[in-house]
């Protein structure tokens, strides 16, 4: 009777459900699409993961990137949203929101290209400024193992704060001012007001934002492709997404790439479950 849904369901099936199944199946094969015969190798791809140092490096880098960027993002955007919402000038409130959103409408790959030039060791403006202001010697931001991920983190914060600033400040605007007035009478300072009123009342928005930000950061790719070219120095900037792309589309080993992709999926899934438990979020169903 609901055959009208069929084309839509067919699309869902072909491009969402089927590929997931295929991705899992492929991880059990030594799969190279150029070949006609691809052997079933059982768990060999997963066994290979356990002694692949680059995989572990990528795993560590991914966790480092996600668990540094997301909390920073949340804290900074909460503060900014709070500052914006508390401004008296309504025109300025609107302007700041739009301004902070600007990087979000640019293709990540394009803004990464711009930042790559800013970070350049020889002519980058960041080094010029540090040298001019503090007489600091040029730093090879993207070419130093310990600095490449922090550099990508700074860029990602710049590029991705806008959404959360807007969502948080919309949430804050939705909190009736009576709450704050009551708190003012009780003599609560701005910080206690923030923790006792704003944060709890943001509840649902807050956990939605955390979940979405985490999931999206696990999957970020473009800035790594550009800023940590070829995985950065000695793979110090290699993350799982880049490793998957490289393994599948450069090293032509799609089976192994699928195995890595599945670990990324498991990571996201475990994280989401834990996060849901902690926040006890009801997805509304």
């Amino acid at each position: 009777m609901f055959f009208v849904l069929l084309p839509i369901l067919l699309l869902y099936f072909t491009f969402l459900v089927l590929p997931i199944g295929a991705g899992f199946v492929m991880s059990f094969f030594d799969y190279n699409p150029l070949r006609t015969n691809n052997d079933f190798v059982g768990l060999a791809n997963f066994a290979r993961l356990t002694n692949d140092p680059v995989f572990f490096k990528a795993l560590r880098n991914t966790l480092y990137f996600v668990f540094a960027t997301v909390p920073l993002n949340i804290i900074i955007t909460l503060i900014i949203a709070q500052l914006i919402s508390s401004l008296d000038w309504s025109k300025l409130r609107a302007s700041f929101r739009v301004l902070f959103f600007m990087p979000c409408i640019a293709p990540l790959v394009a803004s990464s290209m711009v930042w790559k030039q800013l970070y350049n060791v020889r002519y980058g403006i960041i080094n010029s400024m540090l040298e001019g202001l503090f007489n600091i010697q040029p730093i090879n931001w993207l070419g130093t193992q310990s600095l490449v991920i922090p550099s990508v983190i700074l860029f990602t914060l710049w590029a991705d704060m806008g959404y959360n600033v807007i969502i948080f400040s919309a949430g804050m605007d939705g909190i009736p001012s009576d709450f704050y007035e009551a708190a003012n009478i009780d003599g609560a300072g701005p910080i206690s007001r923030f923790f006792n009123i704003t944060l709890p009342l943001l509840g649902r928005t807050f956990s939605f934002v955390i979940a979405m930000t985490f999931i999206s950061h696990f999957q970020m790719f473009a800035q790594f492709q550009v800023l940590a070219t070829k995985g950065g120095p000695n793979n110090a900037g290699t993350v799982l997404t880049y490793l998957i792309y490289k393994t599948a589309f450069q090293n032509k080993n799609m089976g192994y790439a699928s195995a890595i992709a599945i670990t990324l999926f498991l990571l996201i899934m475990i994280f989401t479950i834990v996060q849901q438990r902690v926040n006890r979020v009801d997805w509304g169903y």
């Binding site: 839509i8 991705g23 739009v98 959103f101 790959v109 999931i215 999926f265």
Partner: protein, 279 residues
Amino acid sequence: MAVDTRHKRHSIGQYISLAILSLVALFIIAPYIWMLMSSFKSTQEIVQNPGVILPINWTLAGYRNVLTNSPFFRWFLNSAIVATSITVLVVFTSTLAGFVFAKFEFKGKEALFWLILATMMVPYQITMIPIFLIVGELNLYDTLWALILPGAVSAFGFYLCRQFCEEIPDSLSEAALIDGAGPMRVYWSIIMPLLKPCIAALAIFTFLEAWNEYLKPLIMLSQVDRMTLPLSLVFFGNAHIHDIGSVMSAASLIMIPAVIVLLIFQKQFIKGISITGTK
């Protein structure tokens, strides 16, 4: 918390907030300024005059190179076709599926709903290889279809629309059905208008995502005049040389119109994005 302060003088705290926000704003804008200024420089000048922001010799060579030596308008058109088609299709498929799942009962509905929802958690990296192979099997590799068809459905859009449809009282749609209106009429004249804010938000999100997408076209497209804008930036240069001046010109040409669109439709943008956060 727009506390009414019209009659108060602005407190010191207000100015401190303003100062902090202005600093952050400067941090946000600075790369744009650098990009714009560099787009008027030659690569040679960028490389050999570090620390100088304003161009010494203003040149339009980068822009000329981008607009004459590359099919830039073609790429723009490709991006526009892909992003628009995906947006229209996603809005259509999501609202319809959301409507049906919220307002009708049928066998296996629960299971289907969860199946689709579960796909939201799966990273694109798992599905990109099979999708690439499926697209190849369908003979769609290196066509814009390779981006449009897989992009036509969105689990997030489906979820969002179903949430909104649930909130529409059953009495509204039932009353219309009893009055003899067909479900299509109900969908089109009752549900769709009520979904407007949801559709606006979904459309903005989907369009931005499709417009900025890099990984998918990187895999699915190959020939130069089938590329979309985000792929175009590696095009400038010669063999092993990157023509940074031209790259900055191209980046400016990609970003500036988007910024203008944002400024014109800022209210709609902000409202649309705020909505997704409260669902």
